[in-house]
């Protein structure tokens, strides 16, 4: 195997699962996700000479390429911010109380896992992406901002909104199902 390919695979392939997970969540489709991941790795391979491992970890780099590839495919319209994007962060933070009023923090999570998946998958792509980069891939705000090519403030507002929307949906579900501990407090 050529040295360059071996070097690239050593750096990039350990992150295949993370890239695939995000691709599945963005596309919602196994075939499209496979295709998207292949194109991502091919683009990354072509750009390998310009990649500085020390400066920018491999995982955020690959996820950034995935992000750009995905949104290039679905067209620029999907990248337009939704309304209330630049809302004051303090205002957004105040509405976070829905997290605890929408469902009590002692809710039985085991029973709502499927509903949680549905709530996350129902988010707009830009909110879903930020939420998953935060919750599953464990990226910091700055890294999410790099991946999504937005300002840190935008990451924060999208994340706060995404959490709010998921929490509200789960709260409604829990109350409908009369799940113990879900009564508003």
């Amino acid at each position: 195997m050529p040295t360059r390919q071996a070097g690239f695979e050593k750096v990039a392939m350990p992150h295949l699962d993370s890239v695939y997970r995000m691709a599945r969540r963005l596309t919602g489709n196994e075939t499209e996700a496979d295709d998207l991941v292949q194109e991502t790795f091919l683009r990354a391979y072509r750009a390998f000479e310009t990649f500085q491992l020390r400066q920018y970890g491999a995982k955020p780099w690959l996820l950034k390429i995935l992000h750009n590839t995905f949104y290039t495919r679905i067209g620029r319209q999907a990248r337009q911010p939704v309304a209330m994007e630049d809302v004051d962060l303090n205002e957004v933070a105040e509405t976070e109380q829905n997290i605890t009023s929408g469902f009590a923090a002692n809710l039985n999570w085991e029973g709502v896992d499927q509903e949680l998946k549905g709530a996350v998958n129902a988010l707009a792509p830009e909110y879903r992406e930020v939420l998953l980069l935060w919750a599953i891939e464990g990226l910091a705000y700055k890294e999410i901002a790099e991946v999504c090519d937005v300002a840190i403030g935008t990451v924060m507002s999208r994340l706060f909104r995404a959490r709010q929307q998921v929490s509200e949906k789960l709260g409604r579900y829990a109350r409908e199902k009369r799940i113990p501990g879900s009564a508003p407090t």
Binding site: M1, P2, T3, R4, Q5, A6, G7, F8, E9, K10, V11, M13, P14, H15, L16, D17, V19, Y20, R21, R25, D34, V37, Q38, F41, L42, Y45, R46, F48, E49, Q52, L53, R54, G57, A58, K59, A93, E94, E96, I99, T100, A105, N106, N108, W109, D113, L116, K117, V120, L132, A135, I136, G138, A140, Y141, M156, L159, F160, R163, V166, S167
Partner: protein
């Protein structure tokens, strides 16, 4: 400050983005305000639930093969390589770090991961108690935040963090050392059998920035536990900020126990540091301080009984 005024910091704290005096102020508030503590807990619980529910997906094996084929075709299109491939810039491995990796943890079976448990009545304020640190001053918290940032940055590289240029002689030395230290560790009273033993992932020389933005070279060893959580061992020449931290005694040895501002009993991250005359050691683990000490003690004992390792560290960092 009122709860409303803390709202934004509460979000940042739950996400591990709040450091320094803001974090200390918020933690003080959280200890007195169950409602705010419950909000932090809810955010962290949401994160854990999403991770648990949606984080298990793995790429199909066929996809791996498809990518390899694509890359091979691309390589062929580019033609034969004129010179060796431009690998990403990594620092040269200082093999004593690898020795210490084998020495420190190869034979240590140390902790149990306590899975998160649901409780019917939840004391939220107690749940988000900070890690029991020895020093929570601004310098200590800032240094802890930087140590955690280095840990996370290197852990995210996965096996790519490792420099594989380990000389054969060093490997032989590491093997001999492991045997000797294995005996020492197994006889130590602090050793506790656990369900999972961490595996060595890689080692490299990295740069740690202190609270004054001064960079220090560290030999950084990374391990993974059974749940793929990363554990760091760093060794470095002592510097004032680190050696000046407050300490407490554990088994007749003084340690500094630190935590970044975001660390709580829900999402712990503990940093334990100590110094010999010539080197400082920093262990970073995603556990609380009690479990962290179970980890740290065997490592310290092993290093103490083999002074040659410390000499190798110091030589490597020059």
């Amino acid at each position: 400050m009122s709860c409303t005024q803390h709202e934004r910091d509460l979000q940042l704290h739950a996400d591990g983005e709040l450091a320094g005096s803001g974090s200390l102020e918020l933690l003080t508030h959280l200890q007195a305000c169950p409602e705010c503590a419950r909000k932090v807990f809810a955010i962290q619980q949401l994160r854990a639930s999403i991770g648990r529910t949606m984080g298990e997906m793995k790429a199909p094996a066929a996809l791996h093969a498809s990518i390899a084929s694509l890359l091979a075709a691309e390589s062929e299109k580019r033609g034969p390589e004129a010179r060796p491939a431009a690998a990403p810039r990594v620092y040269k491995l200082h093999w004593p770090a690898a020795i210490a990796a084998a020495v420190g943890l190869a034979l240590v079976g140390v902790w149990q991961l306590a899975p998160w448990k649901q409780r019917e009545v939840v004391d939220y304020a107690a749940l988000i108690q900070p890690v029991n640190v020895t020093d929570n001053g601004p310098v200590a918290t800032s240094l802890a935040t930087n140590i955690r940032a280095l840990h996370v940055r290197c852990a995210m590289m996965g096996p790519g963090h490792h420099d594989p240029s380990l000389p054969r002689k060093a490997q032989d030395a590491a093997d001999q050392l492991s045997t000797r230290l294995g005996l020492a560790v197994m006889s130590g009273s602090s050793l506790r059998l656990a369900s999972g033993v961490p595996t060595f992932e890689g080692a490299n020389v990295c740069s740690l920035v202190d609270a004054e933005n001064v960079a220090h070279q560290v030999a950084h060893l990374l391990y993974r536990d059974a749940s793929q959580q990363a554990i760091s061992i760093m060794s470095m020449a002592p510097f004032a900020e680190l050696t000046g931290l407050k300490t407490r005694a554990y088994n007749h040895q003084n340690y500094s126990v630190l935590a970044p501002g975001s660390s709580t009993s829900c999402h712990p991250f503990t940093i334990v540091a100590w110094s010999s005359r010539q080197a400082s050691y920093v262990i970073s683990v995603p556990f609380d301080d009690e479990e962290a000490m179970q980890y740290v003690e065997p490592i310290r004992v092993a290093l103490e009984r083999e002074p040659s390792i410390e000499k190798l560290f110091l030589a490597a960092l020059q």
